[in-house]
Symmetry: C2
Subunit: 874 residues, 2 copies
């Protein structure tokens, strides 16, 4: 169902770009009429000229990147601001409701609980009805899309609406959910929609590789305008979504994210929320002496603990999803009542955080934002001497319980929020995990900070001056470390600087984040990779580093040796068999079965088109006409009545057509595919040399039988069976008077003909690897070029093929999740046999080629007749 | 002289890695003796066992990346700290000298001037003698090296010593020079040397692609420990040195740079320079209200002006270099007296900055660091009400001149420093341009800030509260903007945050930096690209963005159609002619001249080896022996005396061997090449299937004549002519009794034989492009894979070749420095002819192949004898 593209569609993208440029060029050439207009008189004409000029100027400008980026930034800033505003309203409404009912605890509880349940249910229901793919974070999908996989339904207007509305409701419910991941998705949606919109003005937008670049910038904008953190946004989006990053895109990201963050904060100033542009969670730590060297071990401890915590979070999250999936009875029940699961989870979480209930032990009345502000506060909550005269502001007061210690409350908060967040992020609503994890990390940091403050109540003595400990600094470190561990990124450090507006703790934060990453990366995949695995998205896993045994695996160990190929002198029957076996996306074209010299690759759909065309009704009618002509001639000679064998006519028949791939090359397209990438739209013009049969009744009946027999192995692919009942219109100039038997006979006969590749689009240079290419290098090349498969050749001879699947297997084989390293059997073999054998085999290979060549050249030298024919053909 | 590597040496790198792994594996298998040892008794043995265990553990650990990165960070932090210490000492000495002589102005002047002249002369002389390649920034060279070009003399111990000593002296002189660029180079040198050193322990270090990864991390470390800015360092190094960045390297950079910055700052704390770890140029701006929205236009003005200024700086710098080069008389004179130019420039600059002289109008007594501290100061220098009670500290006092206005002094400072910096950075000493530009930018920002403070003396009124203007904030913005404009980077913003320890001005800084970049990038290349062009380093220029006409250029427009190739049935004479023509690095191997099917590529040196081996003395002696055997048989039958034609014996002759490439494959290596990349060392083992003749006298005399005739077109390549006078030792088991005429005849005869490629290393899958690949895509692929050349194929047939040179020409042709865009003639042609023609030509191409194929298959079908022989050979 998802078409992976490699080299080929990129070519098409380039083609589309050229085509667009040509169209625009044409537009320019059409300018003379304007000059003619100028000779006419009258005011109206001048106005029109002016308007045309303006329009043309706008047109030429609209194609520029920076216009697009500014628009994107602007739109996203507005979206972010409006959403924040709505979320704040929703949260206030909850407080107001439960606050207004403080006379009756039960009523208060009902109000407190019903509100989020309704919101989450609405969010889940809305998302499910409008666009189910809007659920979840969106970063895993963006990662997959930027890898080069086309997941088109993830970038539609419907998804945009579902994501924005769903996210607003989900966050308004007060559950521990984040908005970072969804914002990355929303920004990408925005970019994709803007691209579509802008393509009305200039053709340059209809280009795939440019769209990918814009999507990369959009990811940065998403993070940037979510946290008003342009630099952190760019870095985070790079780390999270890319494998290889083009530095020339860097600029785009910075530009758009900065603009977006700027507008986002300016809106806040205009709305009188802020006096001027400052950070979202402004801190006021000391500048002159932010921390002491002796505090560094504590920061390191936070980092290491966060690493374990982050890995645990990812594990817990996956465990919950897998548990829900495995329990078939639960699963079935939940499938039927889709809104029940979200509602139950919300009920559980909001019951536990009900402020007069258990919530009093975990500051249940605070929103995420308030919690963070209280964590990042300078003042300690424990210091004995100051506890009394410490005028609690509303936020910090939540942490002061008459019965319980601050430490106990913090521990309860951390533990409860931990599983709550892991649970809440599995809900089928648009939600991210970054912010909840960030809050938990801050809580943990605060806990350590408060402990340190309790341990050194007088502060730390340095050179005679005593500096008190700032627990807020620890909270900042903890937040960066835990969110870094969960997402496997270092740039959370930068996000934290931008969020707090202070960079004074740079070294502790960097140290903690790096330690947390080191621990978490060795234990679990990142939350996004984990979701990619859960969702089984077609993504190439990352190579861990330091796994030296991967250098020992070579392409020859993992490649599929049994390559399907067609030769230049294949018959249509061979072609047909190839199409029956398996579900290859492309088929290799070799010179001959003996030489196996790789000439190119042909897409499956192209071959289908070839076959369909060859067995088409037109050709059959032509055949009938020719036969009739011959008959007539014969009749004119022999003069006997023509053969009118009684047989069922094939005019009214039901034909099946199965297409397993939604390729744009589908020969007969009953469901018109709406490609996301506008470049694909243009492929039809690109293929104008192929006469694609446009109505489904062109395919022969023999073809029908054969295509239906095709085994449907891949369960992932949605097979769209299109039953096209074609009531035949009377064709005026041709009469199809063949019987079924005759048709089959004709088709059998046609199948034995040699394939004519002239009207077929061949990829003349598919990517090639060598047997001895290492896994490491193969992975790099696949990631770099976004390949789907590569042929393995040895001195021009095709000997195997490696696709993403083999590569993924090999990587996961050599590095399983649990750290058990398995080497493919062949790799160990080679260690004992030295390289001498392989170089020998190389020589043998060449020998073969050599021998073959000389044997070919022998007739040329000794038999002048064949060499003549050879030369003539050149 | 510089060997560019593409795919092939990477293969070898992989091979080396495997080889190393194998050796280590072997080492492990050799463990049993240890166990045997345990059965022996005695204390000493136990100690030994323990030692061996420890050693083994260390060995296994030493191979890990993080050990390497920590070591690198540690070493670089120490180097940075010690250098800073020495530079501070040198600067103090100058002040002390001129301060001690304040009784006599002339003596003071002499002391002030002589000191930097001596230091710079020493630096230039030392650099010139020890390692001339240490001069200059080093970033352009690193950029080229990371692009994949081997510039081996840039990464030696000598260069390291020259760079460190030279840089210390140069910076100690007080000239406006920076240390950022050289630090990037020093860090890379450190990494290269550490790699070499570590390879004594574990073989895993002998790997090229790993070294490149380490070099990328080292660049980050260089910036990181120079400014104690780990994040900015990583980003700056990415922006400056990479085109495509592997995100998996990101982590490495962060890790090493953070560790390095940490140690660097901890050393300062231990040295009692600082109380705790803080930023280098700590600022104390207001946190609550850093700036007002109404100030933003001023920041934008700083950004735009900095953009123009940055472009002007790059232009001026290049102009000076080109002027010095063009003036041949000056040039000649300077070539003779190498130290004169630096001395004169130093004299000029230090005379102008002499504090009691003109220096009083440009704060000449302040060092760079003091200047920056004074610029970043919170307090305004102009505010009327406070001028009197403003207790000037020593630094700010320098800007207060009794006669001149602050504005005048700032303007003089900016103008003077501008040309001084541009001039000073052309000196042949290790020096960077970042810091001087940073200071000028700060001065400009301060100027704007002071102007704003003078314009709004009461500060800006917002909501009734009046906030005074902070000129230091403007200075920070200006510094980031100008350095960003000169280097074409956005990450200077991050460096500034880390340098000042404050992030409150994030939005103004980002806006200014982006505007400055936009302006500067449209006017001039970055300073590093400018130096790359001046030095003519083999680097691929970057594609500007938004140049749509590049989408119209295709590979077929720029490729070289006249490809040199050899076929499977080439004779040694063909091979020989190929070697004579031009200086190709690799030669394409095609199936036959008719089919032109590309089978692979062979390196020039391999072909030379083949030829040399074929005409070697051994083979000749064998021939003589065979002839003698035949003779003897004939003698035994006919019994006539053997032919003893009187001729000069060839035992004592002078043979020439010219090798224009320092390839490791050089058949006879009189000068043993010292490859930087340790991977190359191992190639000799990789090539053990090639019998490389080890002494120069193996080459025949005919070969000599022919090789000498080779035209030496490329002036860039240093031709090392090695005259090897080989006094022949008496060979016991063979006697070379052929005359020169006989030898020539024999060689002529040998040259007509078909080449036997069996012992030749063929790259079986050279990179292939298609005719219609766009320039944009070609550029991407070349940058991504670090290619040197790529073959253009059409359905397997070789039709052209594109090398870096063609690509560079095409890019520079379509986008010259001055902004004039030239399209290749063919690109405009294609616009009129639609895509129909090209698809037609594609079909024709296939037709040909098809026809050729059928003509080949005809004899197989009709003549069973040939097809039999064909099948047998398979």
């Amino acid at each position: 169902y998802r078409v992976m593209y490699g080299r080929y569609t990129q070519e098409l993208g380039v083609y589309a770009r050229e085509e667009a440029a040509r169209i625009r060029e044409d537009g320019r050439h059409r300018s003379p009429p304007l000059k003619l207009l100028e000779y006419e008189k009258g005011r109206c004409v001048r106005c029109r000229i002016c308007a045309v000029h303006c329009q043309r100027f706008l047109m030429s400008r609209v194609g520029e990147d920076w216009i697009f980026l500014i628009l994107l930034g602007l739109v996203m800033a507005l979206v972010s601001f409006v959403m924040d505003f709505c979320i704040a309203l929703l949260l206030q409404a909850q407080k107001w409701m439960s606050g207004g009912l403080d006379s009756n605890v039960i009523l208060q509880y009902l109000a407190w609980v019903t509100y989020p349940v309704v919101l989450i249910s609405f969010s889940a229901g809305f998302t499910h009805i409008v666009a189910p793919q809007a659920a979840g974070s969106g970063i895993p999908e963006m990662k997959t899309i930027l890898r080069g996989v086309v997941l088109k339904e993830y970038l539609t207007l419907k998804t945009f609406v579902a994501k924005v509305v769903g996210l607003t409701c989900a966050l308004g419910s007060g559950l521990p959910l984040g908005k970072e991941g969804p914002f990355v998705h929303i920004a990408s949606l925005c970019a994709a929609l803007l691209c579509k919109f802008m393509s009305f003005f200039g053709g340059i937008y209809e280009n795939e590789s440019r769209n990918t670049e814009m999507l990369a910038a959009a990811c940065a904008v998403g993070v940037g305008c979510c946290f008003a953190a342009p630099i952190g946004g760019v870095l985070f989006s790079i780390e999270v979504t890319s494998t290889f990053f083009a530095v020339r895109n860097y600029w785009r990201g910075f530009f758009a994210a900065t603009f977006s963050a700027f507008i986002f904060r300016v809106l806040a100033v205009w709305n009188r929320d802020e006096e001027t542009i400052t950070a979202l969670f402004k801190t006021r730590f000391r500048l002159d002496f932010p921390f002491d060297l002796q505090e560094l071990p504590a920061f390191a401890v936070i980092g290491i603990a966060s690493g374990f915590g982050g890995a645990l979070f990812v594990y817990l999250n996956r465990l919950i999803v897998q548990f829900m999936r495995k329990q078939k009875t639960i699963n079935k029940f939940l499938m039927k009542k889709r809104l029940l699961y979200p509602a139950l989870v919300t009920l559980l979480i909001s019951t536990l955080s009900f402020p007069p209930g258990f919530g009093q032990f975990m500051a249940g009345q605070l929103t995420q934002k308030e919690t963070l502000v209280s964590f990042f506060d300078n003042r300690t909550w424990t210091k004995q001497g100051m506890t009394e005269d410490f005028n609690y502001d509303s936020h910090s007061a939540a942490w002061k319980h008459p019965q319980a210690n601050v430490f106990v409350i913090l521990v309860i908060f951390i533990v409860m929020k931990f599983w709550m967040s892991a649970l809440a992020t599995t809900l089928p609503v648009p939600c991210g995990a970054f912010m909840p994890v960030f809050v938990i990390g801050a809580a943990f940091g605060r806990l350590v900070g408060e402990s340190m403050a309790a341990w050194f109540p007088e502060g730390i003595n340095t050179d005679g001056i005593i500096y008190p400990i700032v627990p807020g600094g620890y909270a900042v470190v903890g937040a960066a470390a835990l969110s870094g561990a969960v997402t496997h990124t270092v740039s959370t450090a930068v996000i934290v600087f931008e969020l707090t507006g202070q960079i004074s703790h740079i070294l502790p934060i960097m140290i903690a984040v790096i330690l947390a990453n080191a621990v978490a990366q060795s234990l679990q995949p990142s939350i996004y990779d984990s979701i990619i695995r859960i969702k089984k998205l077609p993504y190439l896993p990352e190579l861990g580093w330091g796994h030296h045994e991967k250098y020992n695996i070579r392409v020859e160990d993992i490649m599929v040796r049994d390559v399907r190929y067609i030769t230049l002198n294949s018959t249509y029957r061979d072609l047909h068999e190839i199409l029956l076996i398996g579900n290859l996306k492309t088929v290799a074209l070799v010179e001959s079965a003996e030489s196996m010299i790789l000439l190119g690759s042909i897409e499956r759909a192209q071959l289908q088109a070839l076959l369909t065309q060859h067995l088409s009704r037109e050709r059959r009618l032509e055949f009938i006409r020719d036969r009739a002509d011959a008959e007539r001639k014969r009749v004119s000679v022999v003069s006997t009545p023509s053969s009118e064998e009684g047989g069922q006519k094939v005019n009214h028949e039901v034909r099946f057509q199965i297409s397993t791939e939604e390729s744009s090359f589908t020969p007969a397209r009953p469901i018109s595919p709406k490609p996301l990438k506008p470049a694909l739209k243009r492929t039809s013009t690109a293929e104008k040399n192929i006469e694609i049969p446009t109505s489904p009744h062109d395919s022969g009946i023999g073809l029908k039988n054969l295509l239906c027999a095709r085994p449907q192995t891949d369960a992932m692919e949605r097979v769209c069976v299109c039953v096209c009942v074609c009531v035949f219109q009377e064709d005026p100039d041709a009469e199809d008077d063949m019987t079924l038997g005759e048709i089959e006979e004709w088709e059998e006969q046609q199948l034995d003909e040699q394939v004519n590749f002239n009207s077929c689009k061949i990829d003349p240079a598919p990517f090639q690897l060598v047997e001895r290419t290492s896994l490491h290098k193969t992975h790099t090349i696949f990631s770099l070029l976004g390949l789907d498969h590569a042929y393995v050749t040895s001195i021009g001879r095709l000997i195997g093929v490696v696709s993403l699947r083999e590569l993924r297997k090999a990587i996961e084989g050599s590095m399983t999740v649990k750290g058990v390293k398995v080497r493919p059997p062949l790799a160990s073999f080679r260690d004992s046999g030295t390289s001498g054998t392989s170089s020998e085999s190389e020589a043998t290979e060449l020998h073969k080629l050599w021998d073959r060549h000389t044997s070919i050249s022998i007739p040329r030298e000794h038999q002048p007749n064949t060499s003549d024919s050879d030369e003539k053909s050149q």
